[in-house]
């Protein structure tokens, strides 16, 4: 193929060997420590204040490092982790239902469709239990039982009840716990907080990450911030699709700028599409709202049997309805995993059986559950969600079935990191959704919050110390030629964006890019479609740089300028996602290639050819270079998933 070249495989992931359950402990013992008296002299930059960045910044400051923290919102408390609803997994086995660290490890490797690194996943499962202790100590108001102990529930079809939650606002409560720990350190003067500051470039000096270039979004001032190490915790890139469940500001810029400076980008095509979101209502749509997955416990999914049936849902008799999940997957029914439920919804809509004004929707019907359990019981379980649905759609789901459709929700891909969470640029660490680790080709529900906090509270603080202790460095300041060059690049790019003064808005380009991605690199991909997408993305990107109009100047708050920079980076990422999806000639997890399916339409993996992580190197104008990290499975043996 002409779209990329292949380079050397990745030889060393720094993952220790030996029995999997002893690896993290042994590694921790072998790592170097930084003398407490020296920590104050070391500065660490943390970009992002979500679960990953907030917990990391607070912890590093508690340990005595000098921390500089950045986020684009007006307060660190507003990072998009705040929106997570469902819960957080941990292998506490409080239910005595057979859960264990090993089972969580096993479920995560299997759920990731055998495309993740066993060592990392095991560590995640081990650390999960400490997270709950930490959060409870901070005063996170988790749901409790009458006896005063923590309540848990089963989530996303798991067979054990290992998901801890705080009503439908688990992410909010966990983030506020981390935020409060961070604010405490800010109050003590150990963290320098820079809200409304956007990272626009990474500074690499002598091959090491030594700083970032940021723009003060209020004054427009560009500054270069130097440090001994840089941590990126800047979240996922689902907004490349324009419409997603992410917040409007979520972006890939921090990661992409680092990628351009040498950090490999791993598995960019692995995207999670969540089956239960409120459908698009018109061209004005600016984002999509998730309806919690828990609704599938009681709601039944259906569409009319006949194409183009435009009767109201209550006028369609029982025998003219197709409860397609129950029909195709009799044993799991409405509770099949996310990727399967999403694709099935797409298929029935493609057949012309979709419902609602756009034909892109399926019913999620609670009539049976209301008959069986009574309206009161349904209200108690889902009252908040039903209200939210009604606020957005104007329809009452107690009376008419909900309409739902899949939407982009999470990105498993991200910057490549080794076992120490260090990227291919020494001194650049990547945590949370921004890295690619742990979830393979598909993330299990309630595992992103777990990973973010595992990285930030427990893993990074150890591995970063090891790096700092092993690599004493000279101080460099912002006048270093590399730092000056990075800053000049940022200034030039802003000048260029402002100078185009064309005839199309940034949003119009973003929307169009999103449509291309959704069409060809969304729920189902194909060779021909991806090639078409790549050509379209290139053509549109060229148009963008000729025709975009960014009003105003760079001197103060300019939201169009912020968006323009982000969309420019999404264009480059989009192409890499398509190349990655094209090269992976198999279906696995969230990546479904039309050409690679079993006779009954399920994802078909090709372990002989593709049991590896695809880590992409940026080469400037040339094609990206693929580096493979081979995956070996010593504990969980690859099998084909089946939910029939």
């Amino acid at each position: 193929m002409d779209l990329y070249t292949e380079g050397d495989p990745i030889a060393d992931t720094r993952a220790p060997d030996g029995p999997v359950e002893t690896r993290w402990d042994r590694h921790r013992f072998e790592m170097k420590l930084v003398n407490p008296a020296n920590r104050r002299k070391l500065t660490v930059i943390v970009v992002g204040t979500g679960l990953a960045g907030g917990s990391a910044a607070a912890t590093l400051a508690e340990q005595g490092y000098h921390v500089k923290s950045y986020c684009y919102q007006d307060s660190p408390r507003r990072a998009h982790s705040i929106a997570a609803q469902g819960g957080i997994n941990a292998a506490k086995n409080y239910r005595n239902d057979g859960d264990s660290v090993h089972r969580l490890f096993y479920d995560t490797v299997k759920g990731g469709d055998f495309r993740s690194r066993e060592s990392n996943v095991h560590r995640l499962a081990e650390v999960s239990v400490n997270i709950i202790d930490q959060c409870v100590a901070q005063g996170v108001p988790f749901a409790r039982e009458y006896g005063g102990l923590l309540d848990t529930r089963s989530f996303g079809g798991a067979q054990v009840q290992r998901t801890f939650y705080a009503r439908g606002q688990t992410g909010q409560q966990l983030l506020l716990g981390a935020y409060q720990a961070l604010e405490r350190q800010i109050g003590l003067g150990n963290v320098e907080m820079n809200a409304r500051h956007e990272m626009l470039e990474l500074v690499v000096v002598d091959g090491r990450a030594r700083g970032i270039v940021v723009r003060d979004m209020v004054t427009g001032e560009i500054s270069t911030e130097m440090a001994d190490a840089v941590v990126l915790a800047s979240g996922g890139y689902g907004n490349v699709f324009y419409l997603s469940t992410n917040a409007k500001g979520c972006n890939v810029t921090a990661s992409w700028r680092a990628h351009r400076k040498g950090a490999y980008f791993a598995n960019p095509c692995y995207t999670q599409i969540h089956p239960t979101c409120i459908p698009v209502s018109g061209d004005h749509q600016s984002k999509l709202t998730l309806m919690s997955e828990s609704l599938r416990n009681d709601g039944r999914v259906w569409v009319p049997k006949a194409k183009g049936d435009d009767r109201g849902p209550r006028d369609i008799p029982e025998d003219e309805r197709d409860y397609y999940l129950e029909r195709i997957y009799p044993s799991f029914g409405n509770l099949v995993p996310r990727d399967i439920a999403s694709r099935a919804a797409k298929n029935v809509c493609d057949e012309g059986r979709g419902v609602g004004p756009t034909g892109l929707g399926v019913y999620l019907d609670f009539a049976d559950a209301i008959d069986r359990l009574g309206r009161k019981a349904i209200e108690a379980k889902y009252g908040n969600l039903f209200e939210m649905y009604e606020r957005i759609t104007g329809e009452d789901p107690y009376e008419v079935p909900m309409r739902i459709y899949p939407a982009v929700h999470y990105t498993m891909g991200g910057l490549w990191v080794d076992y120490d969470l260090q990227s291919t640029v020494p001194g650049l660490f990547v945590i949370g959704e921004a890295n690619f680790s742990d979830h393979g080709a598909n993330r299990l529900g309630a595992s992103a919050l777990m990973q973010g906090l595992a990285d930030g509270y427990f893993v990074l603080p150890s591995t970063l110390a090891n790096y700092l202790a092993a690599n004493p460095m000279e101080k460099v300041d912002a006048s270093h030629p590399e730092a000056v060059a990075a800053r000049t690049d940022v200034e030039d790019r802003i000048t260029r964006l402002l100078a185009i003064n064309g005839d199309r808005t940034v949003d119009s380009f973003h929307r169009e890019l999103g449509q291309i991605m959704w069409e060809h690199c969304g729920m189902e991909r194909s060779d021909a479609g991806l090639r078409k997408a790549i050509a379209e993305i290139r053509a549109l990107r060229e148009q963008f740089w000729q025709r975009v109009r960014v009003p105003g100047d760079g001197e103060g708050l300019n939201q169009s300028l912020e968006k323009a920079g982000r969309v420019a980076d999404f264009f480059e990422l989009a192409e890499l996602m398509c190349v990655d999806a094209l090269h992976r000639e198999e279906s696995c997890g969230g990546h479904f290639r039309a050409e690679y399916q079993t006779p009954d339409g399920e994802a078909q993996r090709d372990d002989d050819r593709f049991a590896y992580v695809a880590a992409w190197e940026y080469t400037g104008t040339g094609e990206p270079v693929l580096h493979k990290e081979d995956l070996t499975f010593e504990y969980v043996h690859p099998s084909q998933r089946s939910y029939k």
């Binding site: 507003r78 930490q134 409870v136 923590l150 909010q172 209502s281 708050l557």
Partner: protein
């Protein structure tokens, strides 16, 4: 439907600012309020004007970024609803809608509808936490918490830090926000050791940041999209009183 918007435009902190009228035709009732502003902004950009700056991020009522005074009401007419969750079906064809920023001494305007709410972070930094450095936590089940206390703590913890309470209060007081955090932590066993230093620290920071005093008017609660009740302020006051008496009794204070 066709609407007329009157929007506060202010180029920067030094500008005096003014209301500007914009007709917005063809608004769909299914649009959210912010999507309606997006439509206006797209048009302004193509007409060569500066779009209206406003804060927003999650657009699902949880991040607390959106902050619009709509027809004089914080977050607009629908109770328990943030501006981003408000939909245009709440309005009628021909309506004129006034849109202004939060107005409060502690929240200076940055541009148009965007204000600086950093003062809220300062209140939290002054005590709105439990001191529990990473790694120091005991096993989670070592301290059971009665379900009612946990549920009540959650209800206060639901505050999204939007500042509607401040904008709605004639005194520009941030007491509801402060009380929500004080209440959450004082209901939990983990919050007890710092209970009294916390309340003093937070109230002092609140006053220093330029918020007004609370005179129990109650506008805050009606504007609050998360229904934080007024009696949290009563709780705060009781703790504060206890704390100041305690402080007076502490040797060397």
């Amino acid at each position: 439907m066709n609407l007329t918007l009157r929007i506060w435009r202010q180029t920067g902190p030094e500008d005096k600012g003014r209301m500007v009228t914009y007709p917005v035709p063809d608004v769909s009732p299914d649009m959210s309020f912010l999507e309606m502003l997006d439509v206006l902004n797209e048009r302004l950009i193509l007409d060569g004007e500066e779009p209206v700056a406003f804060d927003h991020d999650c657009r699902e009522g949880i991040c607390g970024a959106c902050s619009l005074m709509i027809n004089g009401e914080a977050h607009g007419p629908q109770r328990g609803t943030t501006a981003c969750q408000l939909h245009m079906r709440q309005f009628s064809d021909g309506d004129t809608i006034d849109i202004e920023p939060w107005r409060a001494r502690a929240f200076p305007v940055i541009k148009d509808l965007v204000v600086n709410r950093n003062a809220f972070d300062k209140i939290i930094a002054a005590g709105g936490y439990v001191t529990a450095p990473t790694g120091s936590a005991p096993e989670a089940h070592s301290t059971p918490v009665p379900k009612d206390d946990a549920d009540a703590a959650f209800s206060s913890a639901a505050c999204i830090g939007c500042g509607a309470c401040v904008a709605a209060c004639p005194n520009g007081s941030g007491m509801l926000f402060t009380a929500a955090k004080v209440t959450q932590l004082s209901l939990l066993p983990q919050g007890q050791p710092e209970r009294y230093t916390r309340v003093i620290g937070m109230v002092d920071a609140h006053d220093e940041a330029g918020f007004g005093g609370c005179t129990n008017i109650g506008e805050c609660t009606s504007a609050c999209p998360k229904g934080i009740p007024l009696n949290t302020i009563g709780r705060l006051n009781r703790d504060y009183l206890k704390a100041t008496t305690k402080r007076a009794g502490t040797p060397g204070s």
